[in-house]
């Protein structure tokens, strides 16, 4: 007997909702589909939770979300990173409400069950009330499976999930390239902007490798930057600006081809005039090649790498999405700097980040408005599909996967193919 066709709670055949060139609008609007996504995607695959620089020392922690479930990311005494469900095993209270910090462990504020940095239950007040039946080893904070690549820490509720390296696949090559913006220094997180928009998480997932929207939505930002920056990002008609589908829902969009590998420098690129003061200061300490290497990396990598389902490594920042409800999503834009690098460089990177990102940036509010408008429009014409067909006629197979122009919707098609595979997987 054949296995039954996977369906959602409403009886819809989920496989029919995603076609090669279009997706059903219910992917943005159906709360039942959202519940299934939390179960079949966010509770099963690798979800990004942290960059290692956020918990550099033993005792450092940050709180995060895996889908809708709160977790604590900790660095334990042995240097290992743990991802623990933020829920006391006794009566369920959260054991940590700080966004980040340093601790010896976590104590539940309700009845003082206390836990070590790796989640082990260390102490229970007045334990004699439990008789001899309670074994502390049976009640640690619930641990997720954890692995990392290139400093990016991922967690999964599924301890049988495929190895992280396999899940990332060809994306690992691009992660390595992305980290080269450190110009020899490790990358560190320098702060983050957080905002929410009233739309489904997949609307933002689509955006990171959507070059088509950039000069339209970000016209006001383009007019505010100097001509050199605008020229650098004028990829609309550049044939070398391409999008690769990398498998497992991941994709990369190359916007500045000459900055894909920042170690490669043919010497023809003029350093931007606006960074003259940085060149001057760095030149007092570093050789000209090192100065040039650092300054060429100020805008980050020349591409946006989208890792399904919740994190993007986008030019010079991480973009993290968190589904809140079927019609609300939280976004974090994490500014990156050079760990141990020159102060003037890290400050300039903060200023570049502030210019575009965040709720009062010159770019994020316009993205947010566009995403809000997609969600609002999606309530009209429930039978009308969302089209992701741009570039299909010119898409070609190359190396790791399908390739098309940076303004094409290859990345979205890759993400929706993964969505379809996970949502219809009978596991």
């Amino acid at each position: 007997m054949n296995a039954p066709t996977p369906t959602g709670p409403t009886g819809t055949d989920i496989a029919t909702l995603v076609q090669d060139d279009r997706v059903d609008v219910s992917l943005y609007t159906d709360p039942h589909l959202f519940e299934l996504e939390m179960d079949r995607i966010f509770n099963r695959t690798w979800v990004w939770v942290a960059h290692e620089s956020e918990v550099p020392n033993a005792g450092d922690f940050k709180t995060a979300m895996v889908g809708r479930q709160p977790v604590i990311v900790t660095r334990d005494r042995r240097g290992g990173i743990n991802v623990l469900l933020n829920r006391c095993r006794h009566r369920g209270a959260s054991v940590c409400e700080a966004p980040r910090g340093h601790a010896n462990g976590f104590t539940c504020p309700y009845h003082a069950w206390s836990y070590a940095l790796d989640g082990k239950l260390r102490g229970i007040p007045y334990p004699d009330g439990y008789g001899d039946d309670l074994e502390k080893k049976d009640f640690p904070l619930h641990r997720l499976k954890v692995d990392s690549y290139a400093g990016m820490v991922f967690a999964s509720f599924d301890h049988e999930v495929q190895p992280l390296a396999d899940f990332l696949g060809p994306a690992r090559h691009w992660m390595d390239l992305f980290m080269k913006q450190g110009a020899g220094y490790p990358i560190k997180v320098q702060g983050e902007h957080t905002f929410r928009f009233k739309g489904n998480w997949k609307i933002q997932l689509e955006n990171t490798t959507d070059g088509y929207h950039f000069p339209i939505v970000h016209r006001s930002w383009m007019s505010s930057v100097d001509a050199e920056t605008a020229e650098m990002l004028s990829f609309m008609t550049d044939e070398k600006a391409v999008t690769h589908a990398l498998g497992n829902g991941h994709s990369v969009m190359v916007m500045v081809p000459e900055h894909v590998d920042l170690d490669q420098d043919d010497g023809t690129e003029q350093l931007q005039e606006r960074f003259g003061h940085i060149v001057e200061e760095l030149s007092r300490e570093f050789a000209p090649e090192k100065v040039r290497r650092i300054v060429r990396s100020l805008h980050g990598a020349g591409f946006n790498l989208n890792l399904f389902p919740n994190v993007a490594m986008s030019m010079s920042f991480f973009r993290v999405l968190r589904p809140v409800s079927v019609t609300e999503t939280e976004i974090r834009h994490m500014a990156l700097g050079l760990d141990g690098g020159p102060e003037i460089v890290n400050r300039e990177r903060l200023r570049i980040h502030e210019h575009f990102q965040g709720p009062f940036g010159f770019g994020s509010p316009d993205d947010s408005e566009a995403w809000d408008r997609v969600q609002r429009g999606a309530t009209a014409g429930p039978g009308l599909p969302i089209m992701v067909n741009r570039g299909l006629p010119r898409e070609r197979h190359e190396g790791d996967g399908r390739v098309s122009h940076a303004t094409d919707e290859t990345g979205m098609r890759e993400a929706y193919a993964m969505w379809k595979a996970m949502m219809t997987d009978g596991r």
Partner: protein, 165 residues
């Protein structure tokens, strides 16, 4: 016991408060070009994220504007090219609970509470902030030398905006 109204009788304080109220009116009316004329040369306009930070240059902010950035921001909000500015909320804000943090013949520094009520697309929302204005008085008229807006939710999720605080 009668309230102490000596602060309000000080013409330096009165003119600083008047400037703050005038600024609020201009921002609610989105008269950004006129707002720019309230600034002293080299003025700094800051919306920090970290509630504690005083070293704005070394930390990530929501806004950290010098003259050049502030003017580019005004250009962006008035050019008609920014879809978020075109769709921006209507706002009405109140600044009160003034505290004088510093005063001399040249400068008054005022702390105040700002409650902004906005309305956009069927939704009314509130943003609360503690605001500090550093105002120069030794020129032709009072001018803003520094404005720092500490939103009470600055380190949480702050919705994207097409207007100014």
């Amino acid at each position: 016991m009668a309230a102490d109204t000596a602060l309000l009788a000080d013409p330096r304080i009165a003119s600083a408060i008047e400037l703050v109220w005038h600024e609020a009116d201009l921002l609610d009316r989105k008269e950004y070009q006129e707002w720019d004329r309230l600034w002293a040369p080299g003025g700094r306009y800051v919306i920090p994220i970290d509630p504690q930070t005083k070293d704005f240059a070394a930390t990530l902010n929501m806004v950290y504007d010098d003259d050049r950035m502030r003017r580019m921001r005004i250009e962006r909000l008035t050019s008609g090219y920014s879809i978020s500015a075109v769709a921006a909320a209507r706002t009405v804000r109140t600044l009160s609970r003034f505290v004088v943090r510093h005063r001399d013949d040249a400068v008054v520094e005022l702390g105040s509470a700002q409650v902004l009520v906005g309305h956009r697309r069927e939704e009314t929302f509130v943003l609360g902030a503690d605001v500090t204005h550093r105002i120069r008085l030794d020129g032709a008229g009072p001018l803003i030398e520094e404005k720092v807006i500490r939103l009470i939710n600055s380190d949480g999720a702050v919705n994207a905006s097409g207007f100014l605080l």
